[in-house]
């Protein structure tokens, strides 16, 4: 097939799925937070609030678009545009699966593979600070400015431990291409133990992974590092003056950044699309079994519930889960679906950690945040990198 046509189709699929994920990640977050706080969360719009994101989108689209007086118009409009476009670019180098063959076309489940993929993502993520900074400055208002100042200091500080934490698995895999990074983690120790960078010799990257996760929490401005938009002190931080779709732009950018960094973590440390144990031990039945179990739980709750609404919706969900389980157990489709399942499962697990932390952790104070980055996280990441380099040089 024509290279350009294939690229356009792949880009359309990836961006469509990404947009849908962005939309529903917000629903998942609200639901999870609600259940952590023993609430129900969105429930009214559609079954279990499933149409809530669409309602929110319509609301944001039709809201009055305010332009406060005294703003720098050009930069005020440029900021959300920059934020959203920079956060969406990075997904173009993320590999979701191995090379597959469909209808005589061989292609990778990836938009493009750069031999500097990791540096590309780091470079793009180092630019994302401009969206926040410009928004804060162009708003011509004190809270956004304070939020933007905090944000730029915070993002510069946490980029150092992030870069060092990313460099350690690169040393072990000896490549910068995200595709090859996963391929180097493909074998199993003793036939069953995964050789992911998190668990692989000579120096398992457990410390690196923890430093990476902490640093990306700060890079994406999430709790407990959401100082740039600390609502108890700064109203809403850098996007205080934004309304309507411009506000939605920042919102989407935050979630897109979360997805990007979680897929980065999956690829660098958790073996990307690779299963946690070999197919010979039955890892290819896990997705079908997981969906079937989900369906059973849903069916049980649907049949023994007091609410009439839930009786229908949960039974319908059970049917959908069973249908997915059947699709996953078709051997013909397994080469395409299994890698995608493992990639989404690992990325989803990391996204769940993001939401879990938001539901349970208080916010740092600003000086604590800075001291933590420079006098704890940075040295730890440095020592981890040195240890990795030494051990790879000796035993690698």
């Amino acid at each position: 097939m024509n290279f350009y046509l294939l690229s356009v189709i792949k880009a359309a699929v990836v961006s469509g799925v990404l947009m849908l994920t962005l939309l529903y990640l917000q629903w998942v977050e609200r639901k999870l937070l609600a259940h952590i706080q023993v609430r129900l969360g969105p429930y009214r719009v559609g079954p279990h609030g499933l149409l809530q994101p669409i309602a929110d989108t319509i609301k944001l689209l039709t809201k009055e678009d305010l332009m406060p007086p005294g703003v720098n118009k050009f930069f005020f409009l440029l900021a959300p545009f920059l934020a959203i476009s920079l956060s969406l670019i990075s997904i173009s180098v993320v590999p979701f699966g191995p090379e597959v063959q469909a209808g005589g076309v061989r292609t990778w489940m990836q938009l493009t593979d750069l031999n500097i993929g990791v540096i590309f993502i780091l470079a793009i993520s180092s630019l994302t600070v401009y969206g926040v900074v410009l928004a804060g400055w162009a708003s011509n208002s004190k809270y956004p400015l304070l939020g933007a100042l905090r944000s730029s200091a915070q993002m510069i500080s946490y980029e150092l431990p992030l870069g060092l934490a990313v460099a350690a698995p690169l040393l072990m895999s000896n490549t910068l291409s995200l595709r090859e990074l996963v391929q180097t983690q493909e074998h199993f120790y003793w036939g069953f133990f995964p050789a992911w960078n998190l668990l692989r010799g000579p120096w398992p990257q457990v410390i690196g992974f923890i430093v990476f996760m902490i640093a990306v929490f700060a890079e994406t401005n999430r709790v407990p590092f959401d100082l740039p938009e600390a609502e108890s002190e700064l109203v809403a931080g850098f996007h205080t003056e934004y309304s309507s779709m411009k506000f939605a732009g920042f919102f989407m950018a935050e979630y897109a950044n979360m997805i990007t960094v979680c897929s980065m973590g999956t690829i660098l440390f958790l073996g990307g699309w690779l299963p946690p144990f070999p197919a010979g031990y039955g890892s290819k039945f896990i997705p079908a079994a997981a969906f079937a179990a989900g369906g059973l739980v849903s069916l049980y709750h649907g049949l023994y519930t007091r609410h009439l609404r839930d009786r229908w919706s949960l039974t319908a969900f059970a049917g959908i889960f069973f249908a997915i389980a059947v699709v996953f157990s078709v051997p013909l489709l397994q080469p395409y679906l299994l890698p995608l399942f493992w990639f989404c499962a690992k990325t989803g697990l990391l996204l769940f950690v993001f939401i879990w932390v938001r539901g349970t952790q208080p916010r740092f104070r600003y000086d604590q945040l800075m001291r933590f980055a420079w006098s704890f996280l940075f040295p730890v990441a440095m020592v981890n990198l040195l240890a990795t380099g030494l051990l790879v040089a000796l035993f690698g």
Binding site: N115, I119, A123, S126, W137, L149, S152
Partner: protein, 166 residues
């Protein structure tokens, strides 16, 4: 294709560079400078220097310019006033600029004859592997000296900062 991309980004780079000088507000100038750096990164990429391109974005646009903008915002500098300029600059500015450009283009044409042109895609040594190998073998001494220079600069900055605090 390469030539079209080159012309577009060379044009963007020149327009942004002029904008850096023309703008009265420091933030606008700084952002135009980021535009210059971004376009230069694309041109490096066209020439086959992938690592330099990424480093250009990562280091200059992503770190140094953020610091610039951080300082500009912290000092909260407003728009600068346009001075009327010295009479000599107004009188001799344009002819001297033309003369400089003329001399420069003459020197370039004289030093690099026509047949040595730039071919996009002809150079393939810009990968991370090649640059890493070159830095740690052929150019090890300059590299280490530069790192010591940077270390001295950091120590100097910290010392100056402490002096301010006392």
């Amino acid at each position: 294709m390469d030539a079209i991309v080159f012309l577009i980004f060379a044009g963007v780079a020149v327009v942004c560079a002029i904008n850096v000088v023309v703008r009265v507000h420091p933030i606008s100038s700084a952002l135009s400078l980021i535009g210059v750096m971004g376009s230069l990164a694309v041109i490096y990429l066209l020439l086959g220097a992938q690592f330099i391109a990424a480093a250009q974005v990562f280091v200059y646009a992503g770190a140094i310019m953020v610091l610039f903008i951080f300082v500009i915002m912290l000092l909260n500098t407003g728009a600068e006033e346009r001075s009327r300029g010295a009479w000599m600059a107004r009188l001799a500015g344009t002819p001297l600029l033309m003369a400089l450009l003329g001399i420069l283009s003459f020197v370039i044409f004289w030093a690099f004859p026509r047949r040595i042109g730039v071919h996009f895609g002809a150079f393939t040594g810009g990968t991370v592997e090649n640059i890493g190998r070159a830095i740690f073998t052929t150019y090890l001494l300059p590299f280490e000296i530069t790192s010591i220079l940077v270390l001295i600069a950091i120590v100097g900055a910290v010392t100056l900062g402490y002096k301010e605090l006392d």
